[in-house]
C-alpha cells in the first residue's frame, strides 16, 4: 500500500507538470498578447487600458490582413516582477509573436529588459511612460507609440509660470520611475522659465496617510504640483482639502485623469481650475477624437470620456494592427518585416499625427488642459492649448538633453 500511495503521488505530480503546451495558432488567426494591470492598485486603470485596446480591435472588425485577431490577456499588479512573469507566460507559453503592454513605468523598464532576450518577438508599449524605457539603453524590438511622462508635461511648466504666475511650487509624487519622469518634464520648463521648486515629496504607491507629507509642504509656495495616480490622488487631495490646505494645484497627467475626476465628494471643488497636460483632452473638438470617444463608449463599463490609459493602449494597439496589416499579418520571419514597418509607421490618431524617432519612441501632440465642470455635471479636462509634435527630448537638442542626466528623485533640482 505504501508503494501504491507514492506511485499515485508521483503520477499526480507528473501529469501536473507536463500538461502539453498547445501554443500553435491556426494559420487564419493571429495572436496578440495584451498585458495590463488586472490586479493590484492600478486595476481600474488596467481595465480602461483594455477597453482602449479592444476599441482598436473592434475598429478593424476583429481581423487584420484577412486573419482573425486573437487577444491573449496577461495580468500584472504594477510590480516589475509580475509584469515580466506575465510577459514570459504570453511569449513562452501562449506563443504570441506580438505583445502590447505594459501599463506602468517600472513595468515598462522591466519588460524592455526582457524584450532583449526575445529578439523574435515584437513588443509594443501599453501606457508605461518612464523616460529610460526608450531613451537610454533601448531594446531593438520595443516600440512606444504613446509618448513618455516628460513629453506629457510639455507646455505645463511655462504655462504655470507665465500665465498662472506661480513662482514657487512644491511637488508631491509617487516614488517610482513614471512620476520621476513627470516631475522632470514639468521642472525642465518651469525651472528654465525662472521658477523654483523648494520641496519635493516622494510617497510610496498605495500610501493611505498623507498627513506627514502635507505638513512638510512649505507654507509660502504658490501652488502644489501633484503627480499621483488613482486611489493615491484621491486620498491625498481629500486629506489636503480636509486639512485646510488652500494652495492651488497643478496636476500630473494621471492625477486629473477620468479615473480620478469621476470620484465623488468635496474633492471636486479642489480640482476645478487645475491646469495639467497630457496626451488627451476631454473637450477636444476634433472630429477624430469625438469619433474615438463614441467608439470607446461601446466598450462595457466605459467612463464618460476615455482615460489616457484607454487612449495609450488604443494608439499602441492601432499601430500594431496597422503594422501587421502592412506585412499581411506575416510574422514568420521572426517579426523583422513587422518591426521595419512599425519603425516607419506614421499615422493619424484621434489626437493627431504620431511617428517614431530613432529610439522607437513616439513624437506626438500634447494637450494643455484645465479642469472644468461640464454641462452634465461631470468634471472634464478643458483643452487650453495643443503643443504640436513633442519629441522625447522636449525640443532640446539631444546631446544637451542627455547632459541633464537620467531622471531620478534628485534630478532635476532648482530649489
Amino acid at each position: 500500500m505504501r508503494m501504491h500511495r507514492r506511485t499515485l503521488l508521483a503520477l499526480a505530480a507528473f501529469t501536473g507538470l507536463t500538461a502539453p503546451s498547445m501554443a500553435l495558432a491556426a494559420d487564419d488567426t493571429i495572436k496578440i498578447g495584451l498585458l495590463a494591470t488586472f490586479e493590484g492598485p492600478f486595476t481600474v486603470l488596467g481595465e480602461d487600458g483594455e477597453r482602449g485596446a479592444m476599441t482598436a480591435v473592434a475598429e478593424m472588425n476583429g481581423t487584420v490582413a484577412g486573419k482573425k485577431i486573437e487577444i491573449v490577456k496577461g495580468s500584472s499588479d504594477a510590480s516589475p516582477d509580475s509584469a515580466v512573469r506575465a510577459a514570459r507566460k504570453l511569449v513562452e507559453q501562449d506563443g504570441v509573436k506580438v505583445l502590447v503592454g505594459p501599463l506602468s513605468g517600472d513595468e515598462g523598464l522591466a519588460v524592455k529588459d526582457y524584450a532583449k532576450t526575445q529578439p523574435n518577438v515584437t513588443f509594443i508599449n501599453g501606457t508605461s511612460a518612464a523616460q529610460d524605457t526608450t531613451l537610454r539603453d533601448p531594446a531593438e524590438n520595443f516600440f512606444r507609440f504613446s509618448t513618455d511622462g516628460a513629453q506629457w508635461m510639455a507646455g505645463l511648466g511655462t504655462y504655470a509660470f507665465k500665465d498662472k504666475g506661480y513662482k514657487k511650487v512644491a511637488t508631491v509624487a509617487e516614488d517610482y520611475s513614471f512620476p520621476y519622469t513627470q516631475v522632470f518634464g514639468f521642472m525642465a520648463e518651469f525651472c528654465k522659465a525662472g521658477g523654483h521648486v523648494p520641496s519635493k515629496s516622494w510617497v510610496p504607491i498605495g500610501n493611505k496617510d498623507f498627513s506627514s507629507v502635507i505638513a512638510a509642504i512649505p507654507e509660502d509656495v504658490d501652488a502644489i504640483y501633484v503627480a499621483l495616480g488613482g486611489a493615491d490622488a484621491v486620498n491625498f487631495l481629500t486629506q489636503y482639502q480636509q486639512g485646510g490646505g488652500s494652495a492651488p494645484l497643478i496636476g500630473g497627467s494621471i492625477t486629473v485623469d477620468q479615473t480620478v475626476l469621476t470620484s465623488k465628494g468635496k474633492l471636486r471643488d479642489v480640482l476645478k481650475g487645475t491646469p495639467s497636460a497630457g496626451p488627451t483632452a476631454d473637450t477636444n473638438d476634433a472630429p477624430a477624437w469625438k469619433a474615438f470617444v463614441e467608439a470607446y463608449k461601446k466598450q462595457p463599463g466605459a467612463f464618460p470620456s476615455p482615460s489616457l490609459f484607454a487612449h495609450g493602449y488604443y494608439v499602441d494597439m492601432k499601430a500594431t494592427l496597422l503594422g501587421l496589416d502592412q506585412v499581411g499579418g506575416d510574422v514568420s520571419d521572426g517579426g523583422k518585416k513587422l518591426r521595419d514597418a512599425l519603425s516607419k509607421l506614421s499615422f493619424d490618431t484621434p489626437t493627431g499625427k504620431v511617428s517614431l524617432d530613432k529610439n522607437r519612441n513616439a513624437i506626438a501632440d500634447i494637450f494643455l488642459t484645465e479642469v472644468t465642470e461640464g454641462a452634465d455635471g461631470n468634471l472634464m479636462n478643458k483643452l487650453v492649448k495643443v503643443v504640436p509634435q513633442v519629441n522625447q527630448t522636449l525640443g532640446i537638442p539631444e546631446d544637451e538633453f542627455m547632459k541633464l542626466g537620467a531622471v531620478n528623485r534628485d534630478n532635476p533640482s532648482c530649489p
Binding site: 505504501r2 508521483a10 507528473f14 503546451s21 481595465e47 507559453q93 529588459d113 510610496p204
Partner: protein
C-alpha cells in the same frame, strides 16, 4: 515495501534502495526525465518556479510542522538572500554591486538569510500560536516598506535589475535545462535534509517541544535555543530559495517580498499539507499552475476569485491539504481491495 523481516530481534538492516522507498525512486526518475517532455516554459516557469516556492514552503513546513511555529516571514528571509546576491554580486542599477564572484556571494547571502531568520525566530519564540503569525507578519510588512523607501541599500521601488545567474563548468545556469536541474538538486537536498533532520535527535526534540514545551523544559532542554536553531535551519533553506529566485527573475524589488508573496508561501504550505516535507512541493505545483493558467480559464476580470475558490475547496474538503486528501481516500481504496476477498 515491508519486505524486510526482523530477525534475531535486531533492527532490520535494509539496503539503501529499500530505505529510499519506491515512491521516492519513481518520483526522482520522473523529475529527472521531466525535461525530456516539457517545454522551456513548463521547465522553468512552472517546474523551476514551483521548486523554488516549494523550498520556501518547506522552510515554513519545518517551522510549522515540526516546531509549531507558523511564520509569515519566510519570503522576507528569501528576499534578504536575493537582495544580498544583488548587492554583493553584479547588477545594472548602478547602486552598490560589489562584483563578488558567485561562490563567495552565495554563501554570504545564505548566511545572511539564516542569521536574519534566526533573529526573527529569536524575537518571535517568546510568542505562541496566532501571536507568532502576527509578529512575523509585522516583520514581513515592515521589511517590505523599508525596502520600498530605502534607497541606500534596497534602491527603493525599482529594486535591482540585471542580475545574472553564474556560468561555470561551461554551463550557463539560467538556461532552461541547467536551471531546472539546479532547482531540482537544491530542492532534493533540502527535502532530504528536512526528512533526515526530522528523525534526528534534534528533530525529535523539536517535535517534543512542539507538543509539550513545559515538560521539555522540566527535563532540562533549552527550549528557546532549539526553536531558534530550527529558525536558523529554515533560514538556510529559504535563503537558497531566495538565491534561485533572484537568478530566475534576474531582478528583485520590494514587490518580490510583499505581503501578497508572504501569504502565497503560507497558502502553498497549507494547501500542500504540513505533515510531510513533500506537502509544500505539491502545494507549490498547484498554486503556481493556478496562478499561471486561471486567467485563461475565466478571463482577466475574475481569475483571482477562481484561485481563491479552488483553495477554499481544498481546505474545506481536507483541512490537512493535499496530503490529507490522500489520507482520506486511502481507507476507501483499502476497502475496495478487500472486498473481492471477503
Amino acid at each position: 515495501m515491508s519486505l524486510a523481516i526482523a530477525t534475531d530481534g535486531t533492527t532490520p538492516r535494509q539496503n539503501w534502495l529499500e530505505r529510499l522507498g519506491a515512491g521516492h525512486i519513481i518520483l526522482a526518475v520522473v523529475l529527472v526525465l521531466y525535461p525530456l517532455v516539457a517545454s522551456d516554459f513548463f521547465l522553468t516557469q512552472i517546474g523551476g518556479y514551483s521548486l523554488i516556492f516549494g523550498m520556501m514552503g518547506l522552510s515554513l513546513m519545518l517551522l510549522a510542522g515540526y516546531g509549531g511555529m507558523v511564520s509569515l516571514a519566510q519570503i522576507t528571509v528569501a528576499g534578504i538572500a536575493a537582495y544580498a546576491i544583488a548587492i554583493l554580486g553584479n547588477n545594472n542599477s548602478n547602486i552598490l554591486g560589489f562584483g563578488w564572484p558567485w561562490w563567495l556571494a552565495v554563501p554570504f547571502a545564505v548566511l545572511a538569510a539564516a542569521l536574519a531568520s534566526a533573529l526573527i525566530g529569536w524575537i518571535s519564540v517568546r510568542t505562541e500560536g496566532i501571536y507568532t503569525i502576527m509578529i512575523t507578519l509585522a516583520i514581513a510588512t515592515a521589511t517590505y516598506y523599508f525596502a520600498q523607501q530605502n534607497y541606500a541599500i534596497f534602491n527603493g521601488h525599482s529594486g535591482y535589475a540585471g542580475i545574472r545567474a553564474p556560468a561555470f563548468w561551461g554551463i550557463s545556469w539560467r538556461d532552461p535545462k541547467p536551471f531546472y536541474y539546479l532547482c531540482l538538486g537544491l530542492a532534493v537536498l533540502s527535502y532530504a535534509a528536512v526528512l533526515y533532520g526530522s528523525r534526528s535527535t534534534f528533530g525529535m526534540t523539536l517535535q517534543a517541544i512542539r507538543d509539550n514545551p513545559r515538560r521539555m523544559r522540566a527535563l532540562g532542554y533549552h527550549v528557546t535555543a532549539h526553536k531558534v536553531f530550527a529558525w536558523l535551519l529554515a533560514g538556510v533553506i529559504a535563503g537558497l530559495a531566495g538565491v534561485l529566485l533572484v537568478w530566475f527573475n534576474g531582478r528583485v524589488s520590494p514587490g518580490t517580498i510583499g505581503v501578497d508573496a508572504a501569504i502565497d508561501v503560507l497558502i502553498i504550505a497549507v494547501i500542500g499539507g504540513l505533515r510531510h516535507p513533500i506537502g509544500p512541493f505539491l502545494g507549490a505545483v498547484v498554486v503556481i499552475l493556478m496562478q499561471t493558467f486561471a486567467i485563461d480559464i475565466v478571463g482577466a476580470e475574475r481569475f483571482n476569485t477562481l484561485i481563491g475558490l479552488v483553495f477554499l475547496v481544498i481546505v474545506f474538503v481536507s483541512p490537512d491539504g493535499i496530503l490529507g486528501l490522500w489520507g482520506r481516500i486511502k481507507p476507501h481504496l483499502a476497502q475496495e481491495s478487500l472486498r473481492p476477498g471477503s
